[in-house]
Amino acid sequence: MSAPAATPDNRPFAIRTYAPDQLREALRRMYLIRRFEEGAEDSYMRGLIHGTMHLSIGQEASAMATCMDLTDDDKITSTHRGHGHCIAKGADVGRMFAEFFGKETGYCHGRGGSMHIADVKTGNLGANGIVGGGLPIAVGAALSAKRLGRRDVTVCFFGDGANNEGAFHEALNMAAVWKLPVVFVCENNRYGMSTPAAYATSVRNIAERAASYSMPGVTVDGNDFSAVAEAVHLAIARARAGEGPSLVENLTYRWRGHSKSDRNRYRTKEEIEEWMARDPIARFRAELIAHGVLDEAGADAIAEAAVSAVEAGIAFAKNSPAPAVTEVTRYVYAES
């Protein structure tokens, strides 16, 4: 029906692919991830959250752009650095804070905390405390979809550290052998705790691993929303078409340390600052403004709304009841 375009559309992939309200929602969730993690960090410093947490500040484009084509029926498996994935997939920050605060109203009723945050209703099968733990599970979720004749795909987030786990190799091999609808998304933030990926990994780019498992592999700038969205979009289309798995490697960087115990002895201040200058949220915001999706005032309003959402979430968590200590063994087994 439509006439051939007079000139090619040279706008970034995201701008020419998604509706303006989808793009504004993506920016909103990226701000929400940033403010949520800052709020969690602050709450931790104030002693409201115990244990530890792994912040993904600086990696928001990877989480959000990866989830653009996913519905609640599609599944993700997440990692110990999974707050961003959870919010990108549609979770409520109030229930997330409640979980971090160990409250009964949290997503896991206070049993999981940051490292096991999940929201099964939006398809998030859970963060994972074990590096590589989610990789075979994602393949299993894709197997379910294929065997039960469902159209959903599974996106498996993992970090650069996981690419040297046996589970990674076994999972990719099986996904390829059985041609399953799964997309492996490596968030290469350059360090597995303190060990550089460049030191620990035998290939230059983790996406090169894909060749061993006969699947497409691509490395993209993980702080460029459009680059991630386009690569994952193609991989998801391939999965939905029954053509099997793909591997997408998002090159990114965590601004904060590995966890709360990190003293940043393995990297320089200059390196961190260099990456902070490539802030994925600022870049996406500028891109949306440049292409007329919103204006400065509109972007500011979205950013401010994220602050209020986080404040409301923290208030909800603070005011929520703790689990009864008599229920320590509840949820070990199904309740009859």
């Binding site: 074990i130 075979p136 091999n173 087994y333």
Partner: protein
């Protein structure tokens, strides 16, 4: 045509009973699938899945690559998202390659997610010594999994229970591990037609007695029954309890028996130290049944060594009818 027992019941072998359970479940429920190494045309290392691939096809009887960790993880992920996989480890020893997925993932997912997820996976594990397969193909590691909240651990001793326990495991919303003794696969016994569930967590008094209680499971049940028969000729009346389930364990049946006989012996094929016998002994020592004891509790388990190759050594490494008989006699005569 199946053979018939004296009582007019159909007689099947232990492996035929397991196969019948799998076939019944697959006919009744399209979400039940089988996974494992060489379970298709080969029929499994112990021929338990023989011919099932012809009836149900390769989509439902899936040979996995030799990837125990990944394969178990795929089964966990599939169970999390709608399938009911029965995963066969070729030998129970190989489950050690998959401990991560069994213990960190399958067992804990429901709890970590606060009851918001279920992992209805069944792991089948050919187990035990007596086949000349030496240290890495002969172990009895069921007690290890008894230490893990979130798992259920079963040990059928008869064809009837082998079928009923597998069907009960499939009906259970939590992960269940079934340890099948390799020497029992050819053992024949009456097996009811159709579907029935052997209750999980219920021990069974297989032989009533008054002088001592012998708790044994799996192949040790048969050895204990044979020993009890010999002792009966000398006027020693042994009560023999088929443990059937290691987790959950049936406290009440064991305690009731000890209150009656005042003497307890636990016979198991796992290494004696830190095993099923320790748990049962402690359970009695911590209960009112302690006051009924007329003699120290006796444990009969495997030697403190890997399972040896030489047939005489292999036999000597685990409890046999004669060693059970001698120990039971000493216990009955208060010579311990």
């Amino acid at each position: 045509m199946n053979a018939m027992s004296d009582a007019g019941l159909r007689v099947l072998s232990y492996s035929e009973a397991i196969r019948e359970a799998m076939a019944l479940a697959m006919e009744a429920d399209p979400s039940v699938i089988l996974m494992g190494e060489d379970i298709g045309v080969y029929g499994g290392a112990f021929q338990v899945t023989l011919d099932l691939v012809d009836r149900f096809g390769t989509d439902r009887v899936m040979d996995t690559p030799i990837s125990e960790l990944g394969g178990a993880g795929v089964a966990v992920g599939a169970a999390l998202t709608g399938l009911k996989p029965i995963f066969e480890f070729q030998f129970s020893d190989f489950a050690m390659l998959a401990m991560e997925q069994i213990v960190n993932q399958a067992a804990k997912l429901r709890y970590m997610l606060g009851g918001e997820a279920s992992v209805p996976v069944v792991f089948r594990l050919p187990s035990g010594s007596g086949t000349g397969a030496a240290a890495q193909h002969s172990q009895s590691i069921e007690a290890w999994f008894g230490h893990v909240p979130g798992l259920k651990v079963l040990q059928p001793a008869t064809p009837e229970d082998a079928k009923g326990m597998l069907l009960a495991a499939l009906a259970d919303p939590d992960p269940v591990m079934i340890f099948e003794h390799k020497l029992l696969y050819k053992m024949k016994g009456p097996v009811p037609e159709g579907s029935y569930l052997t209750p999980i967590g219920k021990a069974l008094v297989r032989r009533a007695g008054t002088d001592l209680t012998i708790v044994a499971g799996s192949i040790m049940l048969h050895r204990a029954l044979e020993a009890a028969e010999k002792l009966a000729a000398e006027g020693i009346s042994a009560e023999v309890i088929d443990l059937r389930s290691i987790r959950p364990i049936d406290h009440e049946t064991i305690l009731a028996s000890v209150r009656k006989t005042g003497r307890l012996m636990v016979v198991y094929e796992g290494v004696k130290a830190f095993g099923v016998g320790a748990e049962i002994s402690a359970m009695v020592a911590e209960s009112d049944a302690f006051d009924y004891l007329d003699a120290p509790i006796l444990r009969l388990g495997a030697a403190d060594a890997p399972v040896p190759y030489n047939p005489d050594l292999e036999r000597a490494a685990v409890p046999q009818v004669d060693t059970i008989e001698v120990a039971a006699r000493r216990l009955a005569r208060r010579e311990v």
